[in-house]
């Protein structure tokens, strides 16, 4: 028995002698016809009110975090911030569905998921502040570094999930990507490897409509991004990415499937980036305001608040408490990032190799001499 012995085989036509490739019925793999949603449906009543309140609280804090981080870029305190404003439902749902032993493989826009997963909110911004590449311990937090080269973290998630499965350990890897990333070869290779290896991995694609300025219509001609799963032999799911309860539900189902040996799932969440790509981008050059305003009407935070109030699981006191927590976090962010970071130029030569090469030792000495000369001048 090897990890490859999972695939169901169906009869091959008798006029194709020797055809041995496994065939599966594509129908069960096809994505949902319409995006799954829970808010505004009777399904909402089936969800634990405590979970709903927690998701709401996380959305409010997440929105404030995005706003504060963007403000910090304008003050020169962060080098850049790719905001997930408008996409908080996906970020929050992803963070909430992860168990302590699971691993998260975030893209550069997923700081919020990293924070929601338990990483220190200030350490999570280290890359974007520019003081170091990664501010947290990936092994201790089971959170890979924020990944900038698009989709390259997806095969890592597959390999890690595969390794955990080989060791018989119940660990699921969640890879987060955007719509642009689905055009990258690594995304496709990751889906293929995941399906072939039956790896316990979940791919969450946040389709926010644009890869910087390029709209989805120029990115893909597929019926949906979730359909890309089918060709590789894994199921695709389609969900309203601004409905945090729906994203949580669909991801939970994908996690259950992975945990039970069912293999990988691709989830496409339909959402919208209310802010520009980053603080350095001007979204008015490629989006009309009517489109942005239409999505503001479907804002994940206000949507959740309205429906939870209607369902009677949220009141003014809870709303006020969430806002207080969000403001407290924003104040901490301001305090931290208005202080100058501690930088050590000597650290440049650390951690290139386990042991510095003789050449790196020489170069470290050179820099040290330069610094000493500067200090003495």
């Amino acid at each position: 028995m090897t990890v490859l012995d999972h695939r169901p085989t169906a009869p091959v036509p008798p006029w194709l002698p020797g055809a041995t490739d496994p065939r599966t019925d594509p129908a069960p793999l096809l994505p949902d016809h319409t995006p799954v949603r829970v808010l505004g449906t009777p399904e909402l009543a089936k969800h634990d009110p405590e979970l709903l309140r927690d998701l709401y609280r996380r959305l409010v804090i997440g929105r404030r975090y995005n706003q504060q981080a963007t403000t910090l870029t304008k003050q020169g305190r962060l080098a850049v911030y790719p905001s997930s404003t408008g996409q908080e439902a996906c970020e929050v749902a992803a963070a909430t569905v992860l168990r302590p032993q699971d691993w998260l493989f975030p893209s550069y826009r997923d700081t919020l998921a990293v924070v929601g997963r338990g990483v220190d909110p200030l350490a999570a911004l280290t890359l974007l502040r520019g003081s170091a590449h990664t501010g947290y311990d990936p092994v201790a937090t089971r959170t890979a570094p924020l990944c900038t080269p698009l989709a390259t973290q997806a095969p890592h998630a597959v390999g890690l999930a595969h390794a955990a499965r080989l060791r018989g350990e119940d660990v699921i890897a969640l890879a987060m990507l955007g719509d642009g990333g689905t055009s990258e070869g690594d995304f496709h290779e990751a889906l293929n490897f995941a399906a072939v290896l039956n790896a316990p991995v979940v791919f969450l694609v946040q389709n926010n409509g644009y890869a910087i300025s390029v709209p989805l219509t120029k990115q893909s001609a597929a019926p949906s991004l979730a359909h890309k799963a089918v060709g590789y032999g894994l199921p695709g799911r389609l969900v309203d990415g601004n409905d945090v309860v729906a994203v949580h539900e669909v991801l939970s189902e994908a996690f259950d499937r992975a945990r039970n040996g069912g293999g990988p799932t691709l989830v496409e969440a339909l959402t919208y980036r209310l802010d520009a790509h980053t603080n350095a981008d001007d979204a008015t050059r490629y989006r009309v305001s009517a489109e942005v305003e239409a999505w503001r009407e479907h804002d994940p935070v206000t949507l959740m608040e309205r429906h939870l109030r209607e369902a009677g699981v949220l009141d003014d006191a809870l709303v006020a408490r969430a806002a207080e927590q969000a403001e407290a976090l924003a104040a901490t962010m301001r305090a931290e990032f208005h202080a100058e970071p501690q930088l050590d130029p000597h650290s440049l030569f650390q951690h290139v190799y386990a042991e510095p090469t003789p050449q790196l030792r020489e170069q470290a000495d050179q820099l040290a001499a330069e610094l000493a000369a500067e200090a003495g001048a």
């Binding site: 590449h133 390999g159 390794a163 070869g185 090469t357």
Partner: protein, 334 residues
């Protein structure tokens, strides 16, 4: 399976068999060592370097992967993040390029970008170089791409002993290693003593003593240089031959010591010359040994052309005559 102990052996072995023995012995010694690549399982690899390993260790530890090099290396990154020690086989030098982004952006940088919290002990085995009559895309010498990427070690054996010892050292290393296998030496034979073949990464070795000049080389060009040194005796030159074995880290100390003692040096490699490893070596030698040099450091390399068709490759590959022509230009009249 992993309880099998490895008895040291002494026997005549090809380089291919020595590499196979190194993989087997590392897999026996360390259950976290996993092989993955195209055709490495049932077939044992197109060069049979992984022959018999799937049978001994099972298909999960010697994994036939889908045919996608970025996916293979990216999967290996994830496996290494979870504590495994992957050994990836790239089928041919020029087939490894799809994995370049994974290699450059993740494998080489992960330790650095995580401040040492996450190391990737991955070995990437790549058969490289020409001389076996391979058609287009089967004979590249890609070492300069790897050697100019900080975070990678780049190792290439030229002897049977080193093939065994350096591959074991590479797998045991906590840093990623590009292990370049000179494919035209796969069938070279020598006595392999597995107990004695324990060479650490990073040390050049003098393969031949000589007082006139030194040929600095590595991998597939070593036998050519030894042959040239033998032929040079007729011209009255007593050539030393230095085998670098490791391009990164580079053994500046040994190289400088040998060059200073003889005063003349020629760098020989198959790869193209412009921006190649030889240019770096010539520059380093000049910087460190200038006052000991009787002549400029010369290079004998492949031409700056795409690797030629197999029926023309002998014009491209550095041979004995071209090496001796370079030696003749080392300003002997002085």
């Amino acid at each position: 399976m992993s309880t099998v102990t490895t008895e040291p052996s002494v026997r005549t072995s090809t380089m291919a068999q020595a590499l196979n023995a190194a993989l087997r012995d590392e897999m026996r010694a360390d259950p976290t060592v996993h092989l993955l690549g195209e055709d490495v399982g049932t077939l044992g690899g197109v060069f049979r370097i992984t022959d018999g390993l799937a049978a001994e260790f099972g298909a999960d530890r010697c994994l036939d992967t889908p045919l996608a090099e970025a996916g293979i290396l990216g999967t290996a990154v994830g496996m290494a993040m979870y504590g495994l020690r992957p050994v990836v086989e790239m089928q041919f030098d020029a087939f490894a390029y799809p994995a370049m982004e994974q290699l450059v952006s993740h494998v080489a940088k992960m330790r650095n970008r995580t401040a040492g919290k996450l190391a990737l002990p991955i070995t990437v085995r790549i058969p490289y170089g020409g001389g076996i009559g391979g058609v287009e895309h089967h004979s590249d010498s890609s070492e300069s791409y790897y050697a100019s990427t900080p975070g990678l070690h780049v190792v290439t054996p030229a002897t049977v002993d080193d093939a065994y010892g350096l591959l074991r050292a590479s797998i045991a290393s906590d840093d990623p290693v590009i292990f370049l296998e000179p494919k035209r030496l796969y069938w070279s034979k020598a006595e392999l003593n597995t107990a004695a073949a324990t060479e650490p990464i990073g040390r050049a070795v003098l393969r031949r003593q000589g007082g006139s000049a030194v040929l600095i080389t590595y991998g597939p060009s070593l036998p050519v240089c030894l042959e040239a040194a033998e032929a040079a005796k007729a011209e009255g030159w007593d050539l030393a031959v230095l085998d670098l074995r490791s391009l990164v880290p580079f053994d500046d100390a040994t190289v400088a010591q040998v060059v200073r003692s003889v005063g003349r040096a020629v760098v020989v490699h198959e790869s193209t010359g412009f921006g190649g490893v030889g240019a770096e070596i010539a520059a380093r030698v000049t910087e460190r040994c200038f006052h000991h040099l009787a002549a400029p450091v010369l290079r004998v390399t492949g031409f700056d052309i795409p690797f030629p068709p197999p029926m023309l490759e002998h014009h491209h590959l550095p041979g004995v005559d071209r090496i001796l022509d370079a030696v003749a230009k080392l300003q002997w009249e002085d």
